[in-house]
């Protein structure tokens, strides 16, 4: 194979030089869309709080993701020059995104709905794993207890540090998750079954034998 001997062949095919004007236009568009997505999120909160309407979560998600996608397409086509590049590189990019989409899609197909399907069983569900040691108090409660014990807990603390509006709107967005153990969305009556021997959300009551558990059909869990 002979080495290339010419000094250079200038701008060979495939080497497209994008003009600064194009680059600046794209930058301006990107900045515009950035402000738009923030604006959309704020506007949505404002609408929800001012008119006391519930805006479904998916609208928020769809708007944000769509704008992000438009921005990505701009970056990929012009800054990364896929528009002028070999189609092979576009193919690589598209296949990669497709693979990621399969990854997300099929995982969500399984896990996305399972917790809601089985929520009625939550009363008994035992969070296994031993990341926190033997006690079963949620880590958020532990943190609060610690702060209370240290005397640094402020009961009037604003829970929503940065978004003033959110504390109002959250009520609209949130379908509050039923307390563990409440029968709110039980599909069938609870039989008086507890699982003896399981640690967890069953209230620690020292002096009950198994024999009288069957009478107490609605056992309330420890409500931390």
């Amino acid at each position: 194979m002979s080495h290339e001997t010419n000094s250079h062949d200038g701008h060979a095919h495939g080497h497209v030089i994008v003009s600064l004007f194009t680059l600046r236009t794209i930058l301006a568009l990107l900045l515009f869309f950035t402000l738009l997505t923030v604006g959309a999120a704020l506007a949505e909160q404002w609408i929800a709080s001012t008119f006391s309407v519930v805006i479904p979560q998916w609208i928020n998600v769809a708007v944000a993701i769509s704008i992000a996608t438009v921005k990505t397409v701009l970056v990929v086509m012009f800054f990364m020059q896929l528009k002028y590049d070999s189609p092979m590189n576009t193919l690589i990019f598209v296949f990669t995104v497709l693979t990621a989409a399969f990854f997300l899609g099929f995982t969500a197909l399984d896990l996305g709905g399972r917790n809601t399907l089985e929520r009625f069983k939550a009363q008994y569900a035992i969070p296994g794993g031993t990341g926190l040691g033997g006690d079963n108090i949620p880590i958020t409660t532990q943190a609060r207890n610690k702060a209370i014990a240290a005397g640094t807990y402020d009961p009037h603390h604003d829970h929503h540090d940065h978004h003033g509006a959110q504390s109002i709107t959250n009520a609209g967005y949130l379908q509050p998750k039923p307390e563990k153990g409440s029968d709110g969305n039980f599909s069938r009556p609870v039989k008086g079954v507890t699982i003896p021997g399981l640690p967890g959300y069953i209230a620690p009551k020292d002096n009950h034998g198994h024999d009288d558990k069957s009478e107490k059909s609605e056992k309330s869990p420890a409500g931390h």
């Binding site: 990669t96 099929f106 197909l109 969070p127 296994g128 794993g129």
Partner: protein, 601 residues
């Protein structure tokens, strides 16, 4: 159509010519003293040297993993039997290896020892042996040669991948030296994040797998670009040897799937070290999410293992039968189909843990993968038709591959079928199935391929007689080891058991004896190879009479820059009907004169 004359014009290095190299020495030629030579190998960017270094590293790791397998099989020779003395003290017998390592008196310790050996076997064989086996060693060596290129696209990245592989191996060995891990090679959470097996060992081992992923990515990325950009003049996509197609398909999967195991293992390390909660159900995390993450990589990687195995089979079958591969395009497209489908079937590893909808969808998709695999097998068998079938060791391995892979593939039907899988999941049936595919497929193809390309790589012939004896030992040992496991599995023997109920003992016994025969066969192969290196006869450039570029246009072993002149492709890789392959075997492999050649011109 090309004639014999064309080939000579295109530069077949003749026996004499190859050794009369004017200024181009063999790539194996020493550059100076010992230190200079070692430094030369350590800093080389020559794909052939990197491939050879990979080959020896992989074979060493195969030895380590094999020893772990023998430990596992020996431990399972008999069930553990406890004898309770009148004083109340308990003694255990039956756990032979446990006794040998001083752990025989305590059932928990003995079981833990088994679990570590089992994990060691899995981790080493998957991450350090089978995934890099064919691509990193033979792929590195052969891909540029087959394409008529001087090197892979990014030689320094190639060297980097080798060093990353070494680094990963070192991490794995650190973990092993410190006592190993007992998580199983799948590292399922929350077991792997909470097991009391030496705390940092798990982190070492997971980090090793994480690092090895990068080695895999580098190799894959390199190969994809090489195949796209560095084909010799005149070589279109469908003029490439099918070996290249197989490696290409595997490389695509390596590039697209491996990053996901990277992030998975990174999160697992975080979880183990810091308990960030992503896989910890107590903090709202989800252990089944880990399984999805893990198998999103680990199922496609099954095809990273088997596609290169199939790739070498193409070359061996075609040369061995001296026939064009039947339905070249079907085989090439089935490679891509397997690579594509591999990304959407991972859920069949989770039939017992995932939701109903996902299970049904994944089951349906799983059956799709059977089609391209079946097409390949049919095409290979058809290739034998009216051929001239060689009985050399490497072709025996290719035929054995057909036998073993067919069993492995067909038994996959049981596991893809949901109702049956609920019974067979996590039993020895699964163990037998994936050993028939992974070992009977990839490793058998790999061992055969080493024989096939041995003369090209080292310029020496091996002893055919003893190699065939070793082959029969391996083939018989393999079937004796793993066939009983199918029966054991369908009867209900779960996998990863250190101990078992008595009824399974005959099968375990047969399996263990089989594994000893298998080991014997592999050791015999080792001696055959060592003997060849020390005292093998010199090999000509094309002892088997093949038509791909590395045989027709390069000497054995190849010169440093592969080819004297840049090869120009004038015939297809399997154009046996029209071209008499130049052949330089010393004696026993005389080729026929195809009548067709005379007729055609």
């Amino acid at each position: 159509m090309a004639t014999i004359g064309d080939i000579h014009k295109s530069g077949l290095p003749h026996h004499g010519h190859a050794h009369g190299h004017d200024h181009h020495g063999s790539y194996l030629e020493r550059k100076g003293g010992m230190i200079v030579t070692i430094w030369d190998w350590m800093t080389t960017v020559d794909h052939k040297k990197i491939g050879v270094m990979y080959l020896f590293a992989i074979l060493f790791m195969f030895f380590l993993g094999g020893v772990a397998a023998l430990v596992v099989r020996t431990e399972l020779l008999q069930p553990n039997v406890a004898t309770v003395a009148a004083s109340g003290s308990v003694t255990y017998s039956g756990n032979l290896i446990g006794h040998a390592f001083g752990q025989g008196e305590n059932i928990a310790k003995s079981n833990e020892f088994y679990n570590r050996a089992m994990t060691l076997h899995g981790v080493i064989m998957v991450f350090l042996v089978i995934v890099p086996s064919v691509p990193a060693s033979l792929g590195n060596f052969l891909l540029p040669l087959m394409l008529g290129a001087k090197d892979v696209a990014f030689p320094r990245l190639n060297l980097a991948s080798w060093y990353v592989y070494l680094l990963g191996s070192i991490f794995a060995i650190i973990s092993i030296v410190q006592g190993g891990v007992d998580t199983g090679w799948t590292f399922y959470t929350p077991y792997s994040t909470t097991t009391d097996a030496a705390y940092y060992n798990v982190v070492w081992m997971v980090t090793a797998a994480f690092i090895l992923g990068f080695s895999s990515i580098f190799t894959g990325l390199n190969f994809v670009v090489t195949v796209h950009k560095l084909r010799a003049p005149g070589m279109g996509w469908f003029d490439m040897p099918l070996f290249v197609w197989g490696i290409y398909g595997a490389a695509i999967i390596q590039v697209l799937a491996t990053p996901v195991i990277g992030i998975t293992l990174l999160l697992l390390i975080f979880e183990r070290l810091f308990h960030i909660g992503i896989f910890d159900p107590r903090m709202g995390g989800d252990p089944v999410l880990f399984q999805h993450f893990f198998w999103f990589y680990s199922h496609p990687v099954v095809y990273v293992m088997i596609l290169p195995g199939m790739a070498v089979i193409n070359e061996m079958i075609a040369t061995g039968a001296r026939k064009p591969i039947f339905g070249y395009r079907a085989v090439a497209f089935s490679t891509l189909a397997i690579a594509g489908i591999s990304f959407i079937v991972w859920g069949h590893h989770l039939f017992t843990s995932e939701g109903e909808v996902a299970a049904v969808v994944f089951s349906a998709l799983t059956f799709l993968v059977a089609i391209p695999s079946a097409v390949k097998v049919f095409n290979w068998i058809s290739t034998l038709y009216k051929g001239s079938i060689s009985m050399a060791t490497w072709n025996l391995y290719a035929l054995a591959f057909l036998w073993l892979f067919t069993i492995g593939g067909l038994t996959g039907l049981f596991l893809g079928s949901l109702a049956v899988d609920l019974h067979l999941h996590d039993t020895y049936f699964v163990v037998a199935h994936f050993h028939y595919v992974m070992m009977g497929g990839t490793i058998i193809a790999f061992i055969g391929a080493i024989h096939f390309w041995w003369p090209k790589m080292f310029g020496k012939m091996y002893n055919e007689f003893w190699a065939r004896i070793a082959f029969f030992l391996v083939f018989i040992g393999f079937n004796a080891t793993f066939f009983p496991q199918f029966v054991m599995g369908s009867q209900g023997m779960p996998r990863r058991y250190a101990n078992y109920v008595d009824v399974f003992q005959p099968y375990h016994f047969a399996s263990t004896i089989g594994s000893y025969i298998l080991a014997l066969g592999f050791f015999l192969h080792l001696f055959v190879f060592l003997h060849s290196l020390a005292a093998g006869r010199k090999a000509g450039p094309n002892p088997w009479g093949s038509l791909t570029l590395e045989w027709t246009n390069a000497s054995s072993p190849p010169i440093e820059h592969n080819f004297d002149h840049e090869p120009v492709v004038t015939h297809g890789p399997y154009d046996y009907d029209n071209v008499i392959p130049p052949q330089t075997a010393p004696g026993e492999f005389v080729l026929p004169k195809p009548a067709a050649v005379a007729i055609k011109h």
